[in-house]
Chain length 381, copies 4
């Protein structure tokens, strides 16, 4: 703990942004990072003003990410890692500038706005000496780690069925035309890519299912809709999934389901048992061994194992939430970055979503869109 | 209330049966029926012994349903209605004998084991002077009536998304080969028809969605599995649905999902709000008007309307359950039968599933099976 | 099952009554009774009209309970049992007439409106050859039987803490002055006795705690209020309890707690584990063995034992409710009555609340009222 | 936000401590503080080593709190505030050293281990120029602020009933004799004071009830137990409460209730409505306006007001938890400290528990213990 903090920069996340503030809190919770530089907006004036708000030194408040990458790479105590928290279409160009200068990248999801960019970024990240961490933050929840560990240990037997969904209601009406910034870019193909709800939240659901089950997706059959008039991207998606090995799945993503705030859920069933988890109540994991009573596992409570325990700060019954889950990804990344700093390999138990997971997510969206455009046919992923 | 009870006969439901006992309790709860005759098993000896168990007079304990239909039709105080509670393949031949003699039929679901039988039965029932009531019992739950009334009144606006599922775990292993009677016939194509979980419980989920929303199903795309080795019929089904008017749906039926006892659920979302209901907690209905807090409507409680109120026996907080929901179908049928007895028309508010609903259910199963057999393509219903 | 039904009469329960209809349904569910006589109201005309509504033969529709007792006792096929479902102050005089003629009594709770009556009735019932069954119906819930069985088997170890409560909101305002019949008599000392919420619902909570734990109450300290202006009886009661052997408890009864419909709950904690149950979701029982994950036991599900199983009609996930719980008391009584009819003893496993439980309940109310009147001091029960 | 961070010291919270780490995270979440000095243990070596773990400069790692107070007060950029996170008996002597030197104190609860100390500390804090913040952290939950605002606005009408409880199970067995540090001091009168569960968690429940309702407690009647053999302090407490103005309450605190991890709950009922909140699911607040359906208010969701909104970092459905609630107290304190730094008054909306609340809590414990010792009589607070 007495190691120096990781020097962190940020691209995006200025005034009016949402996810940037989340990343900053997440980076602070376990005290592994200090934010020392930023190109916080694509509008230079706003970038500078936003940096001032955050107490970033004037000479490290940049008007654009490229300048930041160039200059920071030259500083003796320049940033060691950068958080990229812009709209999707900026992920690739921004990440490129840092990766090629050996600066580790912590990037928001989805990986990119196009499959082509995703492939290029994956290639670049793999060949770069720098680490690439994708903030599919829901994988940071302790009870998700618990579920993953149980499945890996065979406690569910052979997996048969995966049910996942991510439902919201905030886009039930045409919010994007009111000037709301978040709605604006998330419904805009130029900035988001081909997926609407599929890209914004469907990728989370798909990623979570993959992360927990370890299953490889083989094909999808999707039925996408843009229920709100005038909306270019999907706001509701119904997806059937087939996994290697024969397991089957359903995925529902929606941003037009009134009464759902941020209702990400995952249920997995195998020959020996079932697991059920809901993001809005993340400290609980329902576990049913076949033929036995349902058990309510709790974060830090009886029956909760090592993988969840590593990610737990306070005792059972003291709820941890979204920010702690997010912080767990930052802290896993910190383990890897500090190991690298010390010249070693990232420790095996520093588990976080990678560029390959990001590529898989963008491919998933592309397959869903292709399937739906062709009338809802099965498309290989 | 002082009208004489309806004289009821029963086909099936002898020793070891499950649903027959449910029908009998359901028929008693509101005291509209008395059970006076029965052909309670396809094995004559067992039929007679079962009748004796139930206190049915010896001369009205029949060894087969045809004899029962013939004799009862001749009696001055013969049965006015018959409950058919056999395995699926007997529904049609049994119903035929009673319908053609003017005896009202209360029949368990699914309507028949084949689509051909379903069409013949529908035709026969329509031309018969007798009533045909299909016990899709879940439509008898008060909060389902509440949901239906709210949607019909436009409280959800235009419907967009329907999510329904019916998950169980009792067939997670090969129970049918252990000699368990229920598992035996329900997994046997000869007695159940082409649908396994789709026929046994998927039809309930589909019927419930139709009943509550009033939407007409246009096409399905289904992915069916028989996960348990050696099982001939599906035990898990993933179905995408397209409704007339543009609403979309997903339906999951499973009998291999550990931790699910009888988890039928329905969620409906429209432009103005959402509704969520779970069969295992049937006295609650979640209602979210778009942009307002979620409300928990309760059977008989504030905000619960006339359609639910008609079906409610005890005050809010005094839970009614499965048997009362089932009884509600019997009592709706009794209203119609007594009106007919008095020479009138069934009252408009006697609402129960009909032979047409049954036909739609069998057609739904046939379409799912056809879709899945062809690799998971869209099939019109 | 082929034994003849028990011939049942009813005192009270005419038009506008609530609990009488509940008793009638409860008596029908398992088909052990037929209602053949009644003195259904203290107003003779209403009594006769109510009997007609229910299809009771004219010559067995009585204007008062005494006449009914006398005449039925003389009939060859007179009633074998009577259900007394009047306001509390009539329980004793009515029960007396039947008990002394050897007719079994099934009586609503609380036992009587005064402690003096309760003692006399207890004495009479004990000396009578007839059975006395008190419908503390909540003891009929399967998961309550499950809880009782587990505690008796030592699965909770030595009991330490009992938390019970029964909260409602229907008397939050002065409903009694609007002419509402139920509110009228339940807030009237002349008809209810000295307890308001304590008598009406607190006795249920106390009885349930006693039934499940087997603990003997030694002393109470109570703080009673009549929050609604002008109300003579308590509408809210806070009670501390001390049991023999050192266990402690709290009991809250309230009819002025907005948001509580019929919120009876029981929680019991011992050295080895804890149990939690809520009447509004009665098919669930939470069980935590100390140091292990919480388990959700379900009616008929895995981990549910013989005592609950005896009382279960349909598979797990098919919810049973208030009426089935009530019916279970009637069916337990039927076992005893039929055994008596056959000249035998009631079977050991026919478990229902008795006149002694009723006496304990009235004594509990008296002790609470006495404690509160003296400023909230400890009073021995 | 660009103001310099508050320089913070810490007393207690070294290796093996629990609550110190919580305070540190809470102080970081909103970036208002930097930890620059510490006397982290009563064992000087451990204090120094613990400071090193945390990256505190060597010359500001102190072996005892008095030295720290003296030296920091002399530094130009010495600490502006100190967090005191020791066992209870150290709160007073430590706070005294800082307060008298004008250093603001953020102190864990309960205020002190004795009522005498509490009175002295209250007097000192009032006369000091420094601020005193007591971390009754549960008052920092957004939905608790929401509840408080609603009650203050009269949405519940006149309050009648307060039900609060705080149940845990971690002391169900004799953990203190196993060497577990937390159990050790919390069950030791010399370090905790006269209250066991009452002091450790009962004070939280009492404080929360007071904070939300604004009611003044007048008298208590308490029944305390030490169920675990050999335990000197109470591990279970049943308390009746009478408030000024006529409202009544019950409070249960327990550390021997298996199945309860950290089950703090508050329910408040008035003439116009009811509110219910549970700490383990803190993002929800149930609100029932009398005669209307129950509503589930969510943090940041529809129907959630300004007081909750101020304390909310992420959108509804993204759960915040214990650490964020704790951070809210730190951030409220920061508002006050920064205002003071700028020479102004703390802003009116910086709301946090004060030394007076702490004194009330210690008085509450003293009254409960006195009541119980005298057999469970009413004692004025």
């Amino acid at each position: 703990m007495s190691e120096p903090r990781i020097r962190l920069g940020m691209v995006g996340g200025g005034r009016d942004a949402f996810i940037g503030a989340v990343h900053r809190i997440a980076s602070r919770i376990d005290d592994h990072y200090e934010l020392v530089a930023g190109a916080l907006s694509s509008t230079p004036d706003k970038a500078i003003a936003s940096a001032k708000d955050l107490g970033i030194a004037e000479d490290r408040a940049y008007g654009d990410f490229k300048t930041m990458a160039i200059r920071e790479a030259r500083l003796k105590t320049g940033i060691e890692a950068v958080a990229i928290v812009t709209p999707n279409h900026v992920h690739y160009p921004a990440a490129r500038e840092f990766l090629k200068r050996g600066i580790h990248v912590i990037c928001d999801k989805p990986l990119t706005s196009t499959l082509a960019d995703a492939k290029k970024l994956a290639k670049l990240a793999e060949s770069s000496g720098a680490l690439f961490v994708l903030t599919h933050n829901y994988t940071g929840y302790p009870m998700i780690r618990q579920a993953r560990q149980m499945i890996a240990a065979g406690e569910l037997g052979d997996l048969r069925v995966v049910q996942t969904e991510y439902a919201q209601d905030w886009l039930s009406e045409n919010l994007e035309d009111t000037g709301q910034k978040q709605a604006g870019w998330r419904t805009d193909p130029a900035r988001s890519g081909v997926g609407g709800s599929t890209g914004d939240i469907g990728t989370h659901a798909y990623n979570l299912a993959s992360f927990v089950t370890g299953l490889e997706l083989r094909a999808v059959c999707a039925d996408l809709d843009s229920f709100v008039e005038g909306r270019a991207l999907d706001d509701n998606a119904h997806v059937l999934m087939r996994f290697d090995g024969g397991a089957k799945g359903m995925l529902w993503s929606s941003q037009v389901a009134p009464g759902n705030e941020n209702a990400l859920a995952l249920r997995v069933y195998g020959t020996r048992g079932g697991l059920e988890w809901r993001q809005e109540d993340p400290n609980y994991l329902w576990y049913t061994p076949l033929g036995e009573p349902k058990r309510l596992l709790t974060r830090g409570g009886a029956g909760s194992g090592a993988d969840a325990g590593r990610m737990t700060r306070v005792p059972p019954g003291h709820p941890e939430g979204y920010l702690e889950g997010f912080a767990n990804i930052y802290s896993e990344a910190a383990l890897a970055i500090k190991a690298r700093r010390a010249g070693g390999k990232p420790p095996a138990d520093a588990v976080y979503p990678t560029v390959q997971d990001g590529l898989a997510g963008v491919a998933f969206v592309a397959a869903c869109v292709a399937s739906s455009k062709r009338g809802g046919v099965w498309v290989d992923v």
